[in-house]
Amino acid sequence: MRTIKETLNDDINWDDINLENCKGEYEDILMKLGEYQCGEPTRKDTEELFKRVKVYMDYDLTVSRLKGIRGLFEFAGSQLSVLKTYFILTALIIIIAGVYLTSALYRTERIKLLLCVSPLTVSCYFIYSYLNTDKGHAEMEMSCVFTPFEIFYTRVILVILFDFLVGLAVLPFIPSLIWRAGFLSLLVSWTVPLVVSAAFTLLCVVALGYLKGGIFSAVIWVIALAADDKLGSWGLFINPGMSMFVINRVVFAVVSLTILVLLFKYKDRLEDVKQFG
C-alpha cells in the first residue's frame, strides 16, 4: 500500500517546477522564494580565486590531512609505496649478509640467526626439528646456549644497523620537514614490530618450551597476518606498524624459507662438518 508521501512524490514532477515557471500549487511560495537573492562574484574575484587555487595543483595532500596524529598516520601510509623499495632493499641486504655469515656456522648458531631474522620461520623450524630429528631436543637446547637477551639484542642491533642507521643517513637528503617526520614515523613503525615479534617468540619458547612455544607463536603470527589483511587501511590507522609488519613478515619469511631449504639440502654435509670439523 502506498503512503501519502509516495503518492505525493509520484504525482508531482519536481523537475518541471522552477522559479521561472512557477505555476500551480507552489506558485505563491516560489514567487516569494525568488526574493532570496545573492550577489554574483566579479571577474576579478574569479581570477583571484584561480591564482590562490592553482598553487595546490602540485600538492598530493591537503593541509588538513596533516593535522593531528591521524593525519601523520595517513601521511605515513601514503608514502609507503614510495619507501617500500628502500625497505625491500635493506631487507635483501640483511638476508644476503645472513646467508654469507651462516655458511661458516653450526646449526645451533644458524637457528639463533634465524630467530633474529624471522621468528615465524624459526618457530616452524623448532616444531619440525623437535618432531623429526632424534637430536631435536638437544639441538634446541644447544641453540639456546646464548641467552634469550643476547638473541633479543642481536635482533635489535640487526634492525638498527640495517634500517634505522641507514634511514638516518638518508634523512639529511630529504628536503621537507614534513617528509622527514613521515619518514621517521615509518622507520619507527618498521623497527617496533620487529623488536616486538622477536621478544614475543622468545617469551613463548622460554615459557612454554620449544614445541608448544613454537606452535603458539607460529599460530599468533598467522592470525596477525590474516587480521592485518582483513583490516586493510584501517589496520594502518589502528597500528601504523601493521602494514610494515606484513611486508617485513612476507619478505623475511620467503627468504628465510630459502635459507632453510638450502640448509636441509646440505644437511648431510653440515652433519659431517659438525662431527669431524
Binding site: I12, Y36, K54
Partner: protein, 192 residues
C-alpha cells in the same frame, strides 16, 4: 567545440592549468550562489568556495570519469559546509544573522526606485532570508540546489547522498514549512 566539465577534470588530473582555470570560471558563480544562500555570510562563502576548489585540485585522483563533474564538485562543497555547520559558533552566530549588507554586487542597477519601495522590498527580503535560514539544513540544501542552482532531482540525490524519494519529500515539506512560516502567513493575508 565545447569541452565538457568531465573532460576538464580529466585534464586537471594531468596537471593542466588552463583546465583548472576553466573549471574555476565555470563553477565560481554557481558555487558562490549555493554556498552564500546556505550560509548568508560573505566571508564564510569565500572560504568554503576556495576550499572546494582546492579539494578539486588535491582530490582529483578520486574523481571517476565519466561521473557528473557538477555533482562531484557540489558534493565537495556540501560536505565542507556540513563540517562547518557542526561548529557551534557558525550555528548560533553566523546562521542566525544573515547579514545582507555584506553581499557584493546585489541590486547594482543604475535606476534607483523610491525610498519607500526600497525599504518595503528590503523588509520582504529579510523575511524571506529569515524563513529560509530557519529551515533545517537538509531541507535548505535541496531547496537551494533545486530552485536556485537548477539541478535535477537525481543530481541533488547524488550530491546530498540521499535517495530521490527523500529529496522529493524534503522539497515538499520544505516548501510547506516556508508556506506555514511568518512571511508565508503574511503573503496569504495579503492575497486575501
Amino acid at each position: 567545440m565545447i569541452i565538457t566539465d568531465e573532460e576538464l577534470l580529466e585534464r586537471i588530473k594531468k596537471k593542466d592549468e588552463s583546465a583548472l582555470e576553466l573549471v574555476v570560471n565555470r563553477y565560481h558563480a554557481p558555487l558562490n550562489a549555493y554556498v552564500y544562500r546556505m550560509t548568508r555570510d560573505y566571508y564564510m562563502t569565500e572560504d568554503i568556495v576556495q576550499e572546494t576548489m582546492i579539494r578539486v585540485c588535491t582530490k582529483i585522483s578520486t574523481y571517476k570519469y565519466p561521473k557528473s563533474a557538477k555533482c562531484w564538485i557540489f558534493k565537495i562543497a556540501t560536505n565542507i559546509m556540513r563540517d562547518k555547520f557542526k561548529d557551534k559558533y557558525v550555528k548560533y552566530n553566523i546562521l542566525d544573522i544573515g547579514n545582507e549588507s555584506v553581499v557584493k554586487g546585489i541590486d547594482s542597477s543604475s535606476h534607483q526606485p523610491p525610498v519607500c519601495d526600497i525599504i518595503e522590498k528590503q523588509e520582504t527580503r529579510n523575511e524571506v532570508i529569515k524563513a529560509v535560514l530557519a529551515l533545517p539544513q537538509s531541507f535548505r540544501e535541496v531547496i537551494i540546489l533545486k530552485f536556485f542552482n537548477g539541478l535535477k532531482i537525481c543530481e541533488i540525490a547524488e550530491i546530498t547522498d540521499v535517495p530521490e524519494g527523500t529529496v522529493k519529500s524534503r522539497l515538499y515539506y520544505g516548501l510547506e514549512k516556508l508556506r506555514s512560516g511568518r512571511w508565508g502567513e503574511d503573503y496569504k493575508r495579503n492575497i486575501k
